[in-house]
Amino acid sequence: MARIVTFFIMLVFWVLISGMFDAFHLGVGVICCLLVAIFSHDLLFYGHPDLLWVRDIFKVLAYFPWLFYQIVLSSLEITYIVLHPRMLEIIDPRLVRFRTRLRNTMARVTLAQSITLTPGTITVNMSGNEFTVYALTQKAAEGLPGEMETRIARALERE
Amino acid sequence: MIWQLDLFLLTLVVVCALGTITVRGLLSATIIFAAYSFLMCLLWAEMGAVDVAFTEAVVGAGVSTIFFIAALFRSTTRSRLVIRGVDDPHHLKDQGWKILPLMLSVITGVLLFYGMADFPAWGDPQSPPNVHVSSYYIENAVRETQVPNLVAAILGDYRGYDTMFELVVIYCAGVSVVSILKQENL
């Protein structure tokens, strides 16, 4: 099942990129997509051999607008800091360590990426369930892991 | 060709080139050279040579940078010095003007400029390549080769043997680089 879905995703991708609709190009595309789907379908649906991920896609899509909102916020905050004449008085960088309760690998990676994208924090290291995060201000350091972990748990964790 | 972008990009490229040859530390020079390749690709795309830009992006910025860095990390044991941007102190003694190389390059440059005087003017419609060769390619390439891209048609079909053995040479170079870099404890 995962193979068939991979095949169709790859085919859509091929048509999108190539833009040629004659028989030769479409045929080459179908052959390539078949090969990719047979050999490496397990890369796209990592750890999801069944079809349960279809349900998850919508949850993940619901997570994205919130993430984009956070990215806008973080960029505005960076803008404020960068343009402030006495920048060095505002920032107070520090390293923070915390443990996450997410168990799914995919969820952990998403958390790391989201932390990097949101206000004032960058993931430095992730080993097991311990995160090392570099925070730009004290306020950003205190807000970890906070709301984001809850939202990711809702989107990607399956109990 | 948009001359405002052209001038600006050329300035940036020259800055990058100067940075590459003046910076101390080989790894730093490699990184600046990657930026140079990126800007060069942009310049070519901006002049309309999309194929060349594509090649420059993939070969210049991608592959060659990775190879340079691989070679650097395999060949030096003073990685900390390299990372900090400091080069081997023994190299510093050799700073200063070398008369012979300077004269050689100046003479070569003068000769090249002298030879350039015989070229037809830039974009001259009466020059031999524009009269005979180009028009033939433009008229017949699509019909004869079925390749929609003219540059690819010339390189891959009309000059097929040339390109093929060129690829053999590049392939051999790639294989030797990989086999050298694969040796552990070099």
Binding site: I71, S75, T79, I91, P93, R94, T116, L117, T123, V124 | -
Partner: protein, 116 residues
């Protein structure tokens, strides 16, 4: 200029503005790690704004009877694909660089009062 053109222009210049902020940021911040903040975040947002503007402008007069319009739509989807890639790639690259710096041992800049 039509209303789509205005929206496109505003989005485009917002993108350019955030790119400029990112560039100024990596010049002004005191240490390596805080420079990464400016680089990673502002670039992601700025690419999104500028590329969305261009994709929008590309399909400005969409007519479903013309093949050309559908081709334009395909190109716009390709541009959106770049955005998706930027969102996956930028945090990963930032993370990789940070980790390398951490392992090499570049010291984070700290406020004077914390260095007892």
């Amino acid at each position: 200029m039509s209303i789509v053109s205005w929206v496109v222009a505003v989005l485009l210049f917002l993108g350019v503005f955030f790119f400029a902020i990112g560039a100024i940021g990596i010049l002004r911040f005191p240490d390596f790690y805080s420079r990464l903040h400016a680089a990673g975040k502002c670039d992601a947002l700025a690419s999104t704004l500028a590329l969305v503007a261009i994709a929008l402008f590309n399909v400005r007069d969409f007519d479903w009877t013309l093949f050309q319009s559908w081709d334009n739509l395909r190109v716009s989807l390709k541009i959106l694909l770049i955005i998706l890639f930027v969102y996956v790639a930028t945090p990963a690259a930032t993370h990789a660089i940070t980790k390398a710096a951490f392992i090499v041992g570049i010291e984070p800049w700290e406020k004077r009062k914390r260095n007892r």
